[in-house]
Amino acid sequence: MLLLSIEEIVKEYDGVRALNRVSLKVDQGRIKGLIGPNGAGKSTLFHLISGMEKPNSGKIYFKGKNITAMESHERAVLGIGRTFQTLQIWGNMTVVENVMAGMDRRLKGGLFSCGLWLPRVRRSEEEALKEAKEILDSLGLLGKWESMASQLPYGKQKLLELGRALSMKPDLLLLDEPASGLTLTEIDQLSQLILKVRQGGVTIFIVEHHMGMVMEIADEIVVLHNGERIAEGTPDFVRKDPQVVEAYLTRHHEEPSRR
């Protein structure tokens, strides 16, 4: 079933086209990879999907609903979760609070009912705490649940950011370079985790420079180059595509073939 569909989307920055009439579709329950050389427009595309930026033209549909004009928090409420390329955890809160804040859209209570600590607020807080601890347990962060998030090492902070995105129970999870800065062991753990998350019914759309990882876990891969979609298909198909090879070779950057 179709979950996300992007139609003819255009994004310009001061006359420079970051994305030129890109269309793509993400099916439910799949892991879709998005790769491309630096400056191909991958992160821009993610910002457009999550609503951090608005496109110049084109349309975005999520669950069959036109979300092009929606604000990013409204899209999050609809079920689009994301992580960031540059780590964006809340260092001024504890680890468990980070996860609980991620659940915000599922919790109850406004300004005054929270201040008065009404029974329903208390109940929903207790449940949230329990659930947050379960999520931390599954990530292996439960031992640190009370320490400040800013005191965790980088790898754990990355995990925490993923945990926060998971805690909002998204239907679509956008992962912007989750493996960057991680060690090889951590990347392996991350791949296992992502596969586990997919089994829980979450659709995953992932931007990644680490080719070994994305080729291993993705069901399909889209390749962007200079703001245009140049290939789409299974990892094996994409790897052999002459245009993709050329795009990567001319840039002398990463090679999309091996680890």
Partner: protein, 362 residues
């Protein structure tokens, strides 16, 4: 050498040490925990604070002290609200004196001109301050950082100009006199002691409210907005709504504080709500400690007491005051509330180590 090591215990406790330790222990009892802002639920220590608040006027039965504590309580209500806006949501406001002023003037006008009961005026003041906060908050909260500071500063100045230039309504530069005591259900709060319990009672209620707020989803959303707005909206937190909500709430607190101020001082004049007052309140929040609800109260007591002590020195009071503030900001940059205990624990550790080193020496 070896014989000496066995002979001399490294750090033996002497009776004299109790003399040093007792005050430190006492301060650590009163001072909030170093990481209290991490654990947000109520604790036994809060009961201790409550008892201290109830007993304080009986231990020091000096009316002057009562009056000072009444003022400190009013400032604490104001800075408590401001601390939610500044310390938790990470915004800046230099216009809270205006909300305080709106509260005071609403009470003053309603009670002197229309003979409205003080209790009713108390609520009307808070609601009118909140309403105005809502109206100006919608446009100006889109700004951030310095721009927000300037916009709120401008709002404060506009308020002062309006107050000064409309003598028919607000009494102009002279202000309004003869505001009746606060009274509810026939009880008139006409002594300093009664006023003390009134203000600190209101403060306690608002403190419990704020503390509940901080440990709930709203508090987390505010901290999230302060740390990263992008991340906050990526999990479905509506950033503008939360900012507006806490701005209105802090104005509500300021309105209550202003109303109490008008009733207790029985006057309202524009000089009291100027820029200097705003800076004082902001200093209370910063000195007390951002992101900590005990901080603004500690800051309010400290600065009110400091101003009173220094007023003895007449012309030297202002320079002394500023030197003390600068020193406090240098040595306690995170505020007294958050760091005092860390410092004390550090001091005790340092002292023990020093003793150990000296004891180890031949």
């Amino acid at each position: 050498m070896s014989s000496q090591r066995t002979k001399a215990p490294q750090a033996r406790f002497r009776k004299r040490d109790l003399f040093y330790l007792a005050p430190l222990w006492f301060i650590s009892l009163i001072a909030p925990d170093p990481y209290l802002y991490r654990k947000k639920e109520f604790r036994k220590k809060d009961l201790f604070y409550l008892a201290a608040i109830c007993l304080a006027p009986w231990i020091w039965s000096d009316p002057h002290f009562h009056h000072l504590m009444v003022l400190a309580g009013i400032y604490a209500i104001l800075s408590l609200g401001l601390s939610l806006f500044m310390g938790y949501a990470g915004q800046i406001s230099l216009g809270h004196a205006a909300f305080f002023g709106i509260g005071a003037y609403t009470t003053a006008i309603l009670t002197t001109r229309y003979a409205v009961p003080a209790f009713l005026a108390f609520w009307t003041s808070a609601l009118s301050a909140a309403l105005i906060a809502y109206l100006i908050g919608r446009p100006i909260l889109k700004m951030k950082g310095y721009f927000l500071a300037l916009a709120t500063l401008g709002f404060g100045e506009i308020f002062l100009v309006i107050v000064r230039e409309s003598p028919n309504l607000t009494g102009g530069v002279v202000g309004i006199f003869g505001i009746p005591w606060f009274s509810v259900l026939g009880v008139s709060f006409d002594t300093y002691l009664k006023q003390y319990y009134l203000t600190w009672g209101v403060l306690t209620g608002l403190f419990i409210f704020s503390k509940n707020l901080v440990r709930s989803r709203v508090g987390r959303a505010l901290l999230a907005v302060a740390a990263s707005e992008d991340a906050a909206s990526s999990v479905g937190i509506c950033v503008s709504r939360r900012k507006l909500g806490v701005f209105v709430l802090s104005a509500l607190f300021a309105g209550w504080a202003g109303s109490l101020f008008a009733c207790i001082m029985s006057t309202a004049n524009p000089e009291a709500f100027g820029l200097g007052f705003t800076i004082l309140i902001v200093m209370m929040v910063i000195l007390g400690g951002m992101g900590n609800l005990y901080g603004p109260i500690a800051g309010a007591i400290l600065l009110t007491g400091l101003t009173d002590i220094l007023s003895k020195y007449q012309e030297y009071s202002l320079p002394l005051y500023s030197i003390i503030l600068i020193l406090l900001l240098i040595f306690f940059p995170d505020g007294l509330g958050t760091r005092l205990n860390v410092r004390i624990i550090y001091l005790i550790g340092y002292w023990a180590k020093k003793r150990k080193r000296e004891g180890g020496k031949p």
